[in-house]
């Protein structure tokens, strides 16, 4: 068996360190080793986007990243968004606009939204649809998700100081 490798990763602001097999996928590390099961596994084949997280400021499908590739990195998952009982504006948007039904795709949708709003504080409907191209939803028909993203963008712009509406984690 291949030698285990030590990894140190900051997840939602907390430092974690483990010995892992190089073949361990990041999504399995987050769910099975760290116990953060908010990140979902849908297809495991890089298609559905349910496993989307932020890694060093970029949305990635964590089923297609090795844990060892994230060594020394900074991860944000769905668990890192709310402040205690207070929902993050993106979560609030999904809540207010019915951006989810079964909720399976939602953690990934929300992190892809996070990526979009990090890069563009005022996306058009087309840009929103382009930005969630890598996330499949079998329930909502997407329109409510687009509404939710628009709600979140507006709310974040109201709260923002200067151009930046989100912190790049």
């Amino acid at each position: 068996m291949a030698a285990r490798t030590k990894v140190s990763i900051r997840i939602n602001g907390t430092a974690y360190s483990h010995e892992v097999e190089p073949r361990l996928l990041l999504v399995h590390y987050l769910r099975d080793v760290v116990g953060l099961t908010g990140t979902h596994i849908g297809c495991e084949t890089s298609i559905c986007g349910a496993c989307t997280i932020m890694l060093n400021g970029a949305a990635v499908k964590s089923c297609t990243v090795l844990t060892v590739q994230a060594d020394g990195g900074e991860v944000l998952t769905i668990e890192g968004l709310a402040q205690g009982e207070e929902l993050h504006p993106i979560q609030e948007g999904f809540w207010e606009c019915h951006g989810l039904q079964c909720g399976y795709c939602t953690p990934g949708m929300i992190l892809s939204t996070y990526q979009l709003l990090l890069r563009d504080s005022k996306p058009s409907e087309d840009e929103i649809r382009h930005a969630i191209d890598g996330n499949l939803c079998r329930c909502t028909g997407y329109q409510h998700i687009v509404d939710a993203v628009q709600y979140a963008a507006k709310k974040l712009r109201q709260k923002a100081v200067g151009n930046r509406i989100l912190d790049p984690i």
Binding site: M1, A2, A3, T5, E21, P22, R23, L25, H28, E44, T45, S46, G49, T52, A58, A59, V60, K61, C63, T64, V65, L66, V68, Q69, D71, S112, Q115, L116, H130, A131, I132, D133, G134, N135
Partner: protein, 289 residues
Amino acid sequence: MIPAAFDYLAPATLEEAIRALGTHGEEVKLLAGGHSLLPLMKLRLASPTLLVDLGRIPSLGLISQEGDKILIGALSTHYQIESSKLLKEKCPLLPQTARVIGDVQVRNRGTIGGSLAHADPAADMPAPILALAGELRATGPQGERRLKAEDFFLGLMATALSPTEILTEIRVPLLSGRCGTAYLKAPQKASGFALVGVAVWLKLSASGICEDIGIGVAGLAAKPFRAKGVERRLRGKNLNPSLIEEAASHTAQGVDPMEDIHASGEFRADLARLYAARAIQEAAKRAGV
């Protein structure tokens, strides 16, 4: 969906990576963005025993200008290319292509070097690199080699790289004067990969004559190619829709089109004709025809 076990190295320099590639008794694979290799490994279609991760060599991920060339590090992601101010201003064909690859998450991880080295016939990036007559640089135990884009692609997932070489850089020209570019693809509906993708750059003289043109075609054949017959029919001419359509009808000439469950060869050839005409038209419009 779990890859077979392998050993993992993440060298900090190119030299170390080249040494690691020569490790005897191992089936060694380079890892860039992992968005072609890891899916194959999860399906156990590839089972390397040693992965050499290029992701810790920061110098491979830079985009810069040198004289009349733009230098793109092999590890530059599709997103870096899509959002590069330098490229958008001086060589927009690459951002235009990068933007239609996969989805946001794929573009955040997938790299230009990985895409070219993998040489998937349905990949997008080979088309603009061929159209722009880009130069590729690779380093191996014997030092650096320069390869013309045209000599790089050999066939289905086969390139001129030797197993101990690393693609380090892609050089494309800085476009100046009355230039227009376009990349258009007919995507396979489920995967987004190109059934056919056509990249065009062209340059017009002050009087509107097509001084030079490069056309790269992906998806149609087992290897991406330059549509030289179409280029020849347009160089030195005043571009107009009927001339463009006539020239584009030669896109698949002498090419053996791929056939699969997504499209017959005949359909692919027809798509190539249509998308070539549209892409040339679009590039001409952007150049101000």
